[in-house]
């Protein structure tokens, strides 16, 4: 569904990504992990068509982003970014409703209102729907934007794609798992998700494929149990670790420290 070849990016002659080849299949949950400064967010931005990339075009559903109808594209793909902005003097519902902007002209339809309510339930922000966005805490804001992204992709189109850049920052355990289950349900319907995560154990538990980056290069791109081995992880993170089987769900369990 999404194919990219030879992605490179340099900022002021300092190379951030070098010759990265990625392809993601229908129904796949790809998690990008790696230490700080590995280029995870940059790669995600590139894949999501936010920045200029190399000469090789990125193919989304066999078309380049330029070939897509710009009105059609937001119905097929969405992105959740790390929110560094700040000040949005609107109510929570107004912010989530922005996800439905590609669907209506002036007045939201009933389907838009339903989609907004549904996605707010999904991320557990319905109880604060009339509150001022600016009065929310970091984790609550995060969930509001997740609801917005979910609302954007609430339609009957098959094989949608969502990019999520560290969606679990600031979230408590309950909401971390809730969000990941939501994403997992989304991909099980044949949709695709590309997610940047920091928590390797959550990645091991939920990912179909893991892409491990270090210093702008792919170290490993494979199933979680192939990527999360003692040798690879301790070398990439430069920190000793032990890996055993998680007794509850039989996924690799990474324990750092000796």
């Amino acid at each position: 569904m999404l194919e990219a070849c030879k992605i490179s990016y340099a900022h002021k002659k300092f190379s951030i990504l070098e010759n990265i080849d990625v392809s993601v299949n229908y129904g796949e949950l790809l998690v990008i992990v790696g230490p700080n400064g590995a280029g995870k967010s940059t790669l995600l931005s590139m894949l999501a068509n936010e920045m200029k990339h190399g000469d090789e075009p990125i193919m989304f559903k066999k078309k380049t982003f330029e070939e897509w109808d710009q009105k059609e594209l937001p119905l097929h793909k969405a992105k959740f970014s790390q929110q560094n902005s700040n000040d949005i003097p609107l109510t929570v519902t107004d912010v989530v409703m922005m996800g439905r902007y590609p669907y209506f002209n002036s007045v939201p339809h009933q389907t838009d209102l339903d989609a907004v309510t549904k996605s707010m339930e999904e991320t557990d922000v319905l109880s604060m729907k009339d509150r001022d966005y600016n009065t929310l805490s970091g984790g609550e804001r995060q969930r509001v934007h997740l609801a917005r992204v979910l609302a954007q992709l609430e339609n009957n189109i098959a094989h949608k794609l969502v990019f999520l850049d560290e969606p679990l920052n600031n979230l408590d355990v309950l909401h971390q798992h809730r969000i990941l289950h939501t994403i997992k349900n989304f991909t099980e319907l044949g949709n695709t998700a590309v997610v940047v995560l920091h928590d390797l154990n959550l990645a091991a538990q939920f990912a179909d494929q893991v892409l491990l980056l270090k210093k702008g290069k792919i170290v490993s791109h494979d199933k979680p149990e192939k990527v999360f081995t003692k040798e690879i992880i301790s070398k990439v993170y430069n920190f000793p670790c032990t890996i055993c089987l998680n007794p509850v769900n039989q996924n690799p369990l990474i324990i750092f420290g000796t």
């Binding site: 009105k71 937001p74 970014s81 902005s85 003097p89 902007y101």
Partner: protein
């Protein structure tokens, strides 16, 4: 909230209509016992039951002036709202960031230098020469201010305001210099620029204003959703299918056109683009989908009220309207500054 927008629009239009009718009755000249209905009827039938002076005051003085107040108030406050959406800051208004001054500067230059070529061109173009110069001045300063203060879609508010101060100082100095150079008649024009007045209202000017406003509004007023989405950051807005660059270009050109035309016809009327969005934000939050169309109407209400006060409070003389708007605007400017102290 979005569903009630038509209701708000109808109610505020009614308010505007009532105010406009009231403003017709106010002024130094007292109409004879006839009601306006009778005057209009007489005008249509072209009979002589109404004194000439009544007709003249109504049709050539008061009515064009009221229409002009409505048009200019609307244009200025919509430009303010659009700029605030683009700069993502409630302090961005055409006068504070120097766009009005840029228009005044170019306008002043065209008044003084233009007198040398004026005899050779037909009178219709005198207005347009001024308007075009003011438009170019506004467009140029807008581009400069945006380039200086914004990088990667983020505006540095301090730089934005200070570049406004710098451009205003430049315009002030140049206008001062031009006053020394100019002849008597030009001097009157220049003073008028700096103070701002709706006294020069004519039907020709109103027609030009109306055309400019119709074009600009039809392209801007439906962009409330886009401005809302831009609060998320420009990249996130693009993911929602908003053509951010296209909309920014459109806002820059059309607000320059609106501000340039307003300055050409009424001079420096400050703070309208700051006051109206500020009040609307208090009521409707920053939902541009609502405040953009509402600012078009409330701008008219504000300027019409201010102009009516300016020509009645010290009758029979008139106080410059810019003084009134500054009295309202400056405290609001300070209020916004205090509020956004932390985020600057």
């Amino acid at each position: 909230m979005q569903n009630k927008l038509p209701l708000y629009i109808v109610l505020s239009l009614l308010l505007l209509l009532i105010l406009a009718t009231a403003a017709l009755y106010m002024g130094v000249y007292e109409f004879e016992k006839h009601s306006f209905f009778e005057i209009f009827k007489a005008l249509i039938n072209n009979d002589n039951s109404i004194p000439e002076s009544d007709k003249f005051v109504l049709m050539d003085l008061r009515l064009p002036r009221i229409v002009m107040a409505i048009l200019i108030g609307s244009a200025l406050s919509v430009s303010g709202t659009c700029l605030q959406g683009m700069f993502k800051n409630p302090l961005a208004s055409p006068d504070l960031i120097g766009i009005t001054s840029g228009a005044i500067l170019f306008g002043a230059i065209s008044i003084v230098l233009g007198s040398h070529i004026k005899p050779y061109i037909p009178e219709v173009f005198h207005f347009s020469m001024l308007s075009i110069a003011a438009f170019l001045g506004a467009l140029l300063t807008m581009t400069i201010v945006y380039r200086i203060s914004t990088s990667n879609g983020k505006t540095n508010v301090v730089v934005m305001l200070l570049s406004g101060v710098a451009i205003t100082a430049m315009a002030f100095a140049t206008t001062g210099f031009l006053i020394y150079l100019s002849k008597e008649e030009e001097l009157r024009d220049l003073t008028f620029w700096n103070l701002g007045s709706l006294g020069g209202a004519t039907w020709t000017k109103n027609a030009i204003l109306a055309v400019v406003i119709i074009i600009a509004f039809s392209l801007l007023i439906t962009k409330g959703k886009a401005l809302n989405a831009m609060m998320l950051g420009e990249r996130d807005a693009q993911h929602l299918g908003i053509p951010v660059e296209k909309i920014k270009k459109r806002i820059i050109i059309l607000t320059a056109l609106l501000v340039g035309t307003c300055v050409a016809f009424s001079g420096n009327i400050g703070f309208v683009g700051l006051i109206v969005p500020y009040i609307l934000r208090l009521i409707f939050k920053s939902n541009y989908h609502i405040i953009l169309p509402m600012s078009a109407i409330f701008g008219s209400i504000l300027l019409l009220t201010a102009d009516t006060i300016s020509r009645t409070i010290a009758a029979p003389s008139e106080i410059p309207i810019g003084i009134l708007t500054a009295f309202m605007g400056a405290p609001i400017f300070i209020a916004i500054l205090i509020r956004s102290k932390k985020s600057m």
